[in-house]
């Protein structure tokens, strides 16, 4: 090999390191920007939920407009459901940054808190909507389980489109080992995943039962 050519291997390695690291840096930037976006939503949602929680907790102390409270609750439910879908997409596309998994857990807790608040509002205002909580397996579901969950998600999404304000759709990852969620799972005796819980009373586990979900919502 000519003497002046032998450094070319090293030169190519240096170029590769530079290009590769630029790629990783840009990738990290992309994923961080998505996490920043989620953070922003979370802060806004957290604030809004806190506002609602105060309203529902203060019910009885102050004279509240139940219709307004229910309307706001439904709007908020729609917002966090949409955000959940986007987070899921971002999560699928996340390759370097694992922070999104933490965000997912935070959102699960937020949705759980929202669910509890919804139960309270239902008790106080007796509104005309159903709480539909969807417990699913988040960590390493089998291929069959994942496919089943995807189909159920689609069904619930279609149902939501159809029923609009009549249902409050709350998806919650049930296996993230979060104490509050574990307590609720125990309380409602959720033993299989996925499970759809309607109005804290009816549990649907099998696909066949889901076919008749409509009858529980009328």
């Amino acid at each position: 090999m000519e003497k002046n050519q032998k450094y070319i291997f090293l030169q190519a390695l240096v170029i590769t390191f530079i290009v590769f690291n630029i790629g990783i840096f840009m990738g990290n930037k992309l994923e961080s920007s998505r996490i920043d976006k989620i953070n922003q939503w979370y802060l806004e949602s957290d604030l809004e939920l806190l506002d609602q929680k105060i309203q529902s907790d203060a019910f009885g102390l102050i004279d509240f407009d139940c219709d307004l409270l229910v309307r706001e609750n439904i709007r908020f439910a729609d917002d966090i459901y949409e955000q959940a879908q986007i987070i899921e997409e971002y999560e699928k596309a996340s390759r370097i940054n694992n922070e999104i998994v933490i965000q997912h857990k935070r959102y699960d807790l937020l949705r759980t808190l929202f669910w509890i608040n919804s139960i309270k509002i239902k008790e106080k205002c007796n509104p005309d909507y159903h709480n539909l909580v969807y417990f699913y397996k988040y960590n390493e579901p089998s291929l069959e389980q994942k496919s089943k969950q995807n189909v159920i998600s689609n069904l619930l999404f279609q149902l939501k489109q159809e029923k609009q304000d009549k249902i409050m759709l709350i998806p919650i990852a049930a296996d993230n080992n979060l104490f509050a969620i574990n307590l609720l799972i125990e309380e409602y005796n959720i033993t299989e995943l996925p499970t759809v819980l309607i109005d804290e009373k009816i549990k649907i586990v099998s696909i066949n039962e889901l076919e008749e979900i409509d009858k529980y919502l009328n």
Partner: protein, 407 residues
Amino acid sequence: METLPIIYLMYMFVSIYFLSLFLSLFFKNRKDFFDYPKTNKKYSISVLVPAWNEEKTIEGTIRAIFSSGYDLEEVIVLNDGSKDNTKKIVDKLLKEYPKLTILNKENSGKADSLNQGLEMAKGELVAVVDADSYPDKGSFEKMIGFFDDKKVGAVTCVFIPRNDKRFFERLQAIEYNIIAFTRKLLGYVDAIYVTPGPLALYRKFALKKIKGFDKNNLTEDIEATWHLAFEGYKRKMCLATHATTTVPIKFKAWYKQRRRWNIGGLQCISKYKKYFFKKGMLGFFILPFFALQLFLGLLGLSIFVYLVSTRFISNFFYTKYSIELGTSILTMNDLLITPSFLNYLGVILFISGAVFSILVLFIMKSQILVKQNIFNLLFYLLIYLSVYPFIMITALYQFIRGTGTWR
């Protein structure tokens, strides 16, 4: 980070490395890229033409050799027990070309035929020309100058398909152009790993030193090149000239040819494995390069099979449950894909590969006029190259079982 993204990143790293290496080599040497050393020395050249059932092409090959414009010492056709009219055609040409001779022998394979020819050869240099290849005018003249450097053991040149009318031939033309280009670049770092059969010029002394061609290897040209590298001989690439060669026009024949090349490569890895990271460029580049190609090809294929099978199983269950529930099999949400940064990197890398290929074709166009269009190039990059891992796996299977054959 999960395992698959790490593997993808590893592929990207390797791809960027070789792209950088080739581009660096090109820009460093672009001024004398197509040059060749001129010489006043008159080398005597014996041309060996191994032939087995080559009645369709042998006459054209012999005429092309004698029309090359170089005063050759001799042209020896090594008739390896042909059952067709090869002998008859050569016999007819003997009258026309006094320097032409024929050695009729029992079928014993190409390497053995070449070794017998090597024993007969009188020239200082020995050229090997496949019986379906056609050296261009001035080929030998342009290649001999490299031998003024006593360390040069072999010189090869550009090969292009004889015809470029068919789509499949055009794809191979792209491949041959890229191979020629990269071979030239590897020549600058003494890393040429094959001086192929269509036209290779060897220093006879060097060939004798390595005891000729290995009869047990399916690609005697790859093995001889590695052996020359092992003995410290340089291998050079001359871009200033070319030979045309007959390429397979049917997929099956092409697949068999490429499988044979792969088995030959595996035989070489096996033979020289103890020289990994020893013995200069053979151990530090050629062997790791071949092993890396094999590893990445097999790993890529395994990942492909894994992804396809998991996708198939998922789709099966998804469809099953969708039918049971009466929901849509495909929703708008399924069509919305949020790209990961790996997708972006993959696209950038693919575009870089395509640009590199276009650059190669553009640079080579001044020497070789092969009509191409963007569809051919895309097909080459997306489909043609993706067949290689499948060839590799069948080659590996046959290599392990020891069932690989020449034909």
